[in-house]
Amino acid sequence: MGQFTPTPHDPDARGHFGPWGGRFVPEALIAAVDELAAEYDKARIDPEFVNEFKRLLRDFAGRPSLLTEAPKFAEHAGTRVWLKREDLNHTGSHKINNVLGQALLTKRMGKKRVIAETGAGQHGVATATACALLGLDCVVYMGEVDTERQALNVARMRLLGAEVIPVKSGSRTLKDAINEALRDWVTNVDETHYLLGTAAGPHPFPLLVRDFHRVIGIEAREQILEKAGRLPDAVVACVGGGSNAIGIFHGFIDDADVRLVGVEPGGSGLDSGSHGATLTAGTPGSLHGAMSYVMQDEDGQITEAHSISAGLDYPGVGPEHSHLKDIGRAEYFPVTDAEAMEAFALLSRTEGIIPAIESSHALAGALKLGPSLGPDGLLVVNLSGRGDKDMDTAVKYFGLADGGQA
């Protein structure tokens, strides 16, 4: 099955996954999302587009990414663990898959300007990279809080020629960056493509972002069959908006015996109220253009998410995850900041791989899940990004500058 082959899991023509998804956007944007959907429908069956995308993934992003066994980390999980190494992609995370796809679509639509939101900066850096490569103007909206947490990524984006605009409204994090990007888009939609970074937003974004990331799951399935001789018992990925998770899940979605496990940011713990576990603790609502689970109060005001990981700090989630949760095909649970940081240190020390704090949530999930599978069990963990960008956080968290030891 090819990366762009339609599946029985595609949304309906109006973008609904069961009751989720759709288009809750101003009328002014409908023409743009219609244009995007029509362009994607043509592109996904156009060999020229598909081949150009594959060429960029191979020759620019460095795909296929490796599948690495992590035996010493696995001793702590009590089961066998393989890592899908999205951290080894150019720009250091899975995000490059989606931005290359959408940047190619932007060119097909004849648009010259790209806007994007970013939380941790991974998507912003990836977008700035794709725009530099393909000669597109790039503006990245980033919550002011996040520009401070991720100053190095701000510098990277600027070096790549992008304009980074700190967003000072609301909670000054990812959700507000998305609000500001939507405001820009509605104002400049004629010449601008909004390169959304996760599998959320109005149709067709959840569909096309998923499809650009399906390569993760397709590769992982082939690799684990070749290396381990069988399918895994579970595939584990972190879920903020949910793009890396939906990408790897789709490689295994028709393998009924493979559990699909999404790990959410539990922050200081669900009881503290300070977390971002939208699927575990949220309720149905519309945010940023789609129906999905959201974190909201009893008045329908969106509440702020909290996570040590800027990339998971989001009070919404992609609509397909809401659907997979409801139909029971995927399961979701949270891990705390502390559990994620413990896994961050553990993988670094045992395997010589410094993971992103986002991905460390998936690793912490694997540590929880492993014992129930036993030594013959097999997990594939999506290592969605590398941790270089998180060193400031790690230095503070572990006191590394003062001789501390993680």
Binding site: R23, F24, E27, G170, G285, D299, G300
Partner: protein, 264 residues
């Protein structure tokens, strides 16, 4: 009982456009918003749009964003909205609600319609709900006798204008510019063209909003539209006090009466 069509018919009988003023409920406080809305009614607003302050107002510029934040930090709750609408009704005014859709979903679409109708509200303007996703709202508005104002934009295709007009009642909201709310110096050149396109599809009254702040601009829009919608300028006037709110409403009311023939 007044209906939205009566509001526009009465203005048309005077050969003028209707003046529609927006203010968020709870801004700067719940009591304050009631006072200012009463002043807007008394000073010439034929209809007021009562906004529901929302955490993520993607269609709003900085002025209304800040007002919504202020209302929420002053303790605004959704139940206060109905109270504010009832106060407009009691003051002899006519009110519709303008709200992002999530608070309505959370309240329950039918319950929201029921409580709004009970407060004397005439309908809802839905900036981020298009007719394609409005099945529940169609049913609830029918059940409780409320009007549905959907938006059309310069980017809307003819098919979408046709579909949106058919789903609407009371009046249609034409966004004059591609962009978010906020006062602007110049009336968009896209507005007359959009209104002319919309009239090919419907006899519903058409209100034009986004960027209007002066009597002169109101007069210009009254020359081709049935309603002139003013939001951010009222929000800004609140900061200068109630006299400024009254003066703005009076200036705009003068403007809609000096439009170049409101009959197109």
């Amino acid at each position: 009982m007044s209906t939205l069509s009566d509001v526009f018919a009465a203005a048309k009988a005077e050969s003028r456009a209707a003046l529609i003023g927006y203010l968020p409920a709870g801004f700067p406080t719940v009591a304050g918003s009631k006072d200012h809305l009463r002043s807007m009614v008394e000073s010439g607003c034929d209809l007021v749009e009562v906004g529901l302050p929302f955490s993520d107002p993607v269609m709003d510029g900085p002025t209304i964003q800040a007002a919504a934040e202020q209302a929420r930090s002053a303790g605004f709750r959704v139940r206060d909205l109905f109270d504010v609408v009832a106060s407009v009704t009691a003051a002899g005014g006519r009110a519709v609600v303008m709200t992002y859709w999530n608070p309505v979903l959370r309240y329950g679409v039918d319950a929201f319609a029921r409580d709004l109708a009970a407060a004397g509200g005439l309908g809802i303007i839905t900036p981020d709900l298009v007719p394609d996703e409005a099945e529940d709202w169609m049913a609830a508005s029918e059940a409780h006798g409320l009007d549905r104002t959907f938006l059309v934009a310069p980017s809307s295709t003819e098919d979408r204008i046709e579909m949106t007009a058919r789903a609407s009642s009371g009046f249609l909201y034409a966004t004059a510019v591609m962009g978010v709310t906020g006062a602007r110096d110049v009336v968009s050149s896209a507005a007359p063209a959009l209104v002319a396109r919309v009239r090919e599809h419907t006899t519903l009254p058409i209100g034009v909003g986004l960027g209007v702040r002066s009597g002169a601009q109101a007069a210009e829009i009254a020359g081709f539209a049935d309603g002139v919608i003013v939001g951010s300028a009222f929000v800004s006037a609140v900061a200068e006090g109630d006299a400024a709110v009254r003066a703005l409403a009076a200036d705009l009311a003068q403007g809609v009466r000096s439009g170049v023939a409101a009959t197109v």
